[in-house]
Each structure stands twice: as C-alpha cells, then as structure tokens.
C-alpha cells in the first residue's frame, strides 16, 4: 500500500502544476465568479469530498445504518 504522505505529496504537486497551467494559459469565459477563481475546483473538490464523507457518515450512523439482519424479520421468508 502506498503511504498517505506519498499520495498527498504527488497529488499536491499535480494540483500545483495544474494551477500553474490555469494561471498561465486558461482564459475562461465566466458566468459566475468561481469560473475565474484560480484553483476553485481543487478547493471545491477537496472540501466537497471531505464534507460528503463526514456528513454522510454522521447521517448514516444516526439514521440510516442498521445491523445486517435488519430485514430478516419475516418479510423475506414468507414469499
């Protein structure tokens, strides 16, 4: 397994490179401010991913997840 540090280092470098390309070459036709905001997608991706994981896990633990035998209460057997 690849270590977390290594992956983070590589992805940070790739993102840095992408931001460099964005700053130097990209001239977006913007409808909204975030289309011009440099590195917006990288920030949005990182924060969005973190939010999805944390919120879903919280939500799941509180409301959604049940033990594996939850459905076995007779509704599958009487068919």
């Amino acid at each position: 397994m690849v270590s977390t540090k290594k992956v983070l280092f590589i992805s940070a470098s790739v993102i840095a490179l992408l931001i460099l390309v964005e700053v130097m070459f990209v001239h977006p036709h913007a409808e909204y401010w975030w289309h011009e905001f440099v590195a917006f997608d990288a920030i949005y991706g990182f924060i969005g991913c973190t939010l999805i994981i944390v919120l879903s896990k919280l939500f799941g633990k509180k409301f959604i997840q049940r033990p594996e035998h939850f459905w076995d209460g007779g509704d599958d057997t009487d068919v």
């Binding site: 397994m1 977390t4 992956v7 983070l8 992805s11 940070a12 790739v14 993102i15 992408l18 931001i19 390309v21 964005e22 070459f25 990209v26 001239h27 977006p28 409808e31 909204y32 975030w34 289309h35 590195a39 917006f40 997608d41 990288a42 920030i43 949005y44 991706g45 990182f46 969005g48 991913c49 973190t50 999805i52 994981i53 919120l55 879903s56 896990k57 939500f59 799941g60 409301f63 959604i64 997840q65 049940r66 033990p67 594996e68 939850f70 459905w71 209460g73 007779g74 509704d75 599958d76 057997t77 068919v79």
Partner: protein, 576 residues
Amino acid sequence: MFEFHPGFILIISAIAAMVLPRRARQAVMIAGPLLAILAVFQLEIGTTLTYSFINNMELILMKVDKLSWVFALIFSIMSLLGCIYSLHIKNRGEAAAALAYAGSSLGVVFAGDWMTLIVFWELMAITSVFLIWYRANPQSRGAGLRYFLVHTLGGNILLAGIFLQVSGGQFEVGVLTGNNDVAFWLILVGVAINAAIPPLHAWLTDAYPEGTVTGSVFLSSFTTKVAVYTLIRIFPGTELLVWAGVIMALYGVVYAVLENDIRRLLAYHIISQVGYMVAAVGIGTELALNGAVAHAFSHILYKSLLFMGAGAVIYSTGRRKLSELGGFFKKMPLTVILYTVGAFSISGVPLFNGFISKSMIISAAGYNNMPSVELLLLLASVGTFLHTGLKLPYFMFFGPDKGIKPVSIPKNMHVAMGGGAFLCILFGVAPILLYAKLPFNATYVPYTLDHVISTLQLLVATLAAFWIFIPKLGGEPTVSVDTDWFYRKPLVNLTVGLVTAVCSIRDYGGLAGNKLLERVVPYFRNPFLIITGKTPLGPETGRIAIYDENKYRFPIGFTIFLIILVMVVTFSYIYI
C-alpha cells in the same frame, strides 16, 4: 433496404432462445442483437409502422425520429454486449427474459401512441423480474416480488394517466409540459417510479443487487434509461424535475458512502447518474436535452461495464461485500483494468465518455442561470469519483488481503467488458461520433483547456481527500434503510395485522355460530323441550357437520377455464 422493428427482432430471438438447444441459443443470442443493430441503422428518420387494432384504433408501433433513433441504437448495442456477457449461462429462461426485456425497451422507445407505450412498458416489468428471480435464493425472491409489485403499481398509475389522455382525444405520445392536469401528474408519477426518482426509487437499490450476475447487467441498462427517454419525450422543461434530479444526484452519493454491497453501491450511483439526466430534462434547453441523451448513452455503456466488473468479482469469488473482499488485484488483472475504464468514465475523467456528456449537462445548467444546480451537480461528480472510482476498486481489488482465491471467469465475460470499455474510450476520444447523432440543435465543445484543467483539479483533489479518509471508508457490515422501509416493515405489519384480525373475527364468529347451533338444534328436533323445560342432554356432537369451505370451492383451473372461455368468445366476437 429493409425496415423492420428492431425490438421485434429481439423479442423473436427471445422466443427462439426459449426453445433452442444450447449451441443454437448462443448463436441466436449473438445474431438477434446484431440484426437489431443492423435494423436500427437501416431505419430512416420519419419511418412509421402502424397496425389496425380494435375500435378503429390505429396503433403506431414504430415512429422513428432522431430522439428515438439514438436511444434505439444504444439499447441495441447494449443488448449485444449484455448477451455476449451472458453467453455462458445454461438457463434458457434467463436468456429469453433478457432478450425480451431489451426488445420491449425498444418497443417503448419507438412507440408512437400511448397504448403501444404502456403495453411495452408493462412487458419490460414482466420480463425483467425474471432476471432477479432466476438468482433463486430467498433474498432474490423477496426483492423480485417487491420489484414487481412496485412496477405494477407504477404501470397502473401510468395506465390511469394514459386512459385520461386517450379519452381526452390525445392518442399519440406527445409533450405534456405545462399541462398540470390529472393525466399529467399520473403519467409523471408512473414514469418517475421507473426513473427511480426519490422517494420512489427504493425498488432499484433493493432489486438490482439481488439479480443474477448477468441479469443485473441488463437491469442496470434499460429500465431507468427508458424512463429518461420518456421524460425527454413527454416532460422537457418541467421545472420540478431540475430539483428532483439534483436531489437524486446527491442522494445516491450519500447512500453510496454507507454501502457495503458492491452492486448496491453501484445501484445507488445509477440513481445519482440518472439524477443528472432528470435535471437536464428539467432545464429543458436544447443543450440540456442533448446532454440528457448523451449522458444516457454514455451511462449505459459505463454502468453496464461496472456491473459486469462487479459481476465478474461475484462470479469468481462468491463474495459481494466490501468488508469481505480485497487484496486480489494481481489475480484478476484484466478485470481490474476493464473495471477501471468504467470507473474513469463514470467519474468524468477526460478522454473517457462520461466527460463528454456529464460536462454538457453541468454547462447547460450554468448557461441557463442556475448556479446552484451547476455547483451541486459538480459536488455529485466529486462523490461519483470518490465511490465508483476510488472507494469501490480500492476495497474490492486492493486494500488488505483477505486471502481470496478467485476462480477464472468465462472468456465471453471479458470480451463483453472489453467491448464496453472500447466504446467508453472511443466516444471519449472522439465525441463527434456521438454528438453527430444527438437529436437537438445545440453544439458543444467538451475539450477546452479550461474545462480539462478544472476537471483534473477536481478529481486529483478528491483523490487526496479520499486517501486521508481511507481508514474511515472501509465497508461496514451494515445495511441501510431507505424508503423501502415503508413497505418492508410497517406495510407488511399492517397487512399481516389486518389479515390476522379478519381471520380471527371469522374464526371466532364461526366457532360461536357453531356453539349456538349446537344449543338450538335440539329444540328444533323436539319443540316440546321448550314447554317441558327439560334441558337437552348436552350438545349432540357428531350430528352437526362442521362447515368446511374447501368442500365447496371450485378448483382454480375452473376459474382459469372460464376466463379463457370469455376471452375466446370476446375475441371471436370482435374478429369474426
């Protein structure tokens, strides 16, 4: 030049597959879909095929326009890929059900009038349920029954709407947007059930993971996309659908975080992906509708590829849960590579087909002054890459070694996956091949530097966040309750409770009646007992026959005989 309904070719192949021996059946399973693809290419825009039905009704069995043509193309291609994938199966019924299911999907796509549409719509439900039942275990039997009940309910709601529509003089399938009458809502709900729009979606994630390995590949491709086609045809620009779609896109993502079953995780991402298409139908601009068509086209290819990959894992390991899988990527390298193509496609990585269609919808939202829709759909694509592109392959193939020794999978499965992967890359590299076939007037350029750079930023950042959270993301041995809870728990309890209540009233009533009879009968036999006042010597047991309803029941065959008789008489009255 021959012009033949491609759906009928598949349905005829299904009948042939039902009766032919194995070798011949395999030939039909290849030849049928190939002929169907050929037939689609032979069809010209504007072709119609009608059939005179009772009451001077003219059924429009086939009406070809640009929209139905492109859907017909992808459905017939998919039926070929699916048939190749299931070439090794020994169950003739399953092969026939799959072919008939694909054929009836084409029937819906080409249907020009409401009656034809509903007939094929119901046929889809009937044929597809066998792809679940043929797994033949208690879970699949239960899930299949629930699937069937939900779809018959949906079909009946649709039928009610169609009756209103037809009796109002609207015989042909057409745009209903803005009508806002009862027929509009009934048809919308009927179609929404098949499109799996929450809260009407639970049948999908309940049933698809319980289907057979090969059957679920078919299931993942047809029902929801036929519903998307119907939405494009009937409800373009219905604003409600924008938000329904956005909710769908995120709903699937949230549940996918929690899911442990590999095919159920993929099923939640069907909901998420169909969300993009539904939102696009709601936006309703020409670019958005083209986006919906293109995304359905791409989605069928990559999602079936992913289901094929997951099916290959289940076939070769016998396991289906992330918490039980992992560490065997070296033993199935080809499957891992082909799965990854599907995963990159669904995630919208440039050069794969998801990129050229998903970006179209997101851009359409932006152009149409819907910034929040654009951002939320972008967030959903973060979730898509997170689960299908990272979490699922990581914990399924890589991750901690569970000492799994997979058996090798049949060659035809690899061939089908290879075909799907090839098409995913082909359309990703050369989007014009797809764009040229899109029905609406809108041009789009997916490969701008701006676009590619921002997509890559989004994806790499997601990868970084994923790697930080890996310890938290492993499969947990839990199940997730969804809206199917309502009909799997309270509704079952309610039904059982009501039946028990009615039965006990009947039983106690019968018992009390019998006791009363036993007391009264002696007085009838000897009325003088009333005058003499002598109490009869206890109830005379054995004299009164206890009522046994089974003695008086008709055999069920008699009822069926009557039904057939009535049908024969009716039909001979109509036709003779």
